[in-house]
Symmetry: C2
Subunit: 132 residues, 2 copies
DNA sequence: ACTATTACTATTATATTAATAGTAATTGAT
DNA sequence: ATCAATTACTATTAATATAATAGTAATAGT
């Protein structure tokens, strides 16, 4: 997502290129990227000169969007996501605790946009090293 | 821990009793309780009329203490716990993000004491139902 | 000696995540 | 039409973590 953000507006980037830059197997990245597309955060063009690109501007995507697309619900325990999952939920202090912690986490992630996230990296890394 | 907090100062409680009340296998609880002892949060007395009891007052134990004893580090990713674990750590925005989220979570957990936690349950549950 | 308890170690089962592999569908270029 | 480059989808394997069970040893009171 960072790669796509850094090259937003430059047309589709293909997966192999992202995988090479980030040094991860492209087949594995292929698995990871699909849910991001399902969540509507990115779009794809198939065939020659195809690739992936962001569906929205990087400052309109939050890290909560990204993490949720990749990991599913941000709830740290199942009973927060699905109250019926555990018979104790109604009077369970653990449920309340994890519910508070999960909400906390969600709001932290929501407060950071993909743009901010990507800029941070850009500032830290000289282009000369990064774009090999 | 909640059970021990609710009966703080009443002498040791034995594991089988806690397991029965919380409806979990006592052998399993035996596994879980050991790290709490190692972390110094509870003490044990062996032999007949033995059992477990809190090492400190319930308001001197935070939920961070408890969760850390049970789960190890609160870091959501390994690179936050052990910066050397990943070669990207130095200029990795993900590292910074998860570091922020982890710290956030830790401070939430630290702000809640075991006493508060246990009181909450007590208020929610009539004793008549609870102490079967 | 006996009983009730914690302490420790090992094992099994289950679920999750990471990683790999192969094939199908799509698109552009020749 | 064919070929090459790409995403899409499904299946499989491997590795790891967690949940749960089991058995034995150590300890302490009666």
């Amino acid at each position: 997502m960072m790669e796509l953000a850094l090259h937003y507006g430059e047309g589709p980037i293909y997966l192999k290129e992202i995988a090479r830059r980030q040094n991860i197997p492209d087949k594995y990245l292929g698995n990871l990227i699909l849910p991001l597309k399902t969540a509507g955060l990115i779009r794809a063009e198939r065939g020659a000169h195809g690739g992936y690109y962001l569906a929205r501007k990087p400052d309109e995507i939050t890290m909560k969007d990204v993490v949720e697309a990749l990991e599913g619900s941000l709830s740290l325990v199942e009973c927060v996501e699905t109250p019926g999952a555990c018979s104790r939920s109604a009077d369970c202090p653990s449920h309340d605790l994890w519910s508070a912690v999960s909400e906390n986490m969600a709001s932290t992630l929501q407060s950071i946009t993909l743009k901010q996230f990507a800029e941070k990296h850009k500032n830290k890394t000289p282009e000369s090293i990064y774009y090999i």
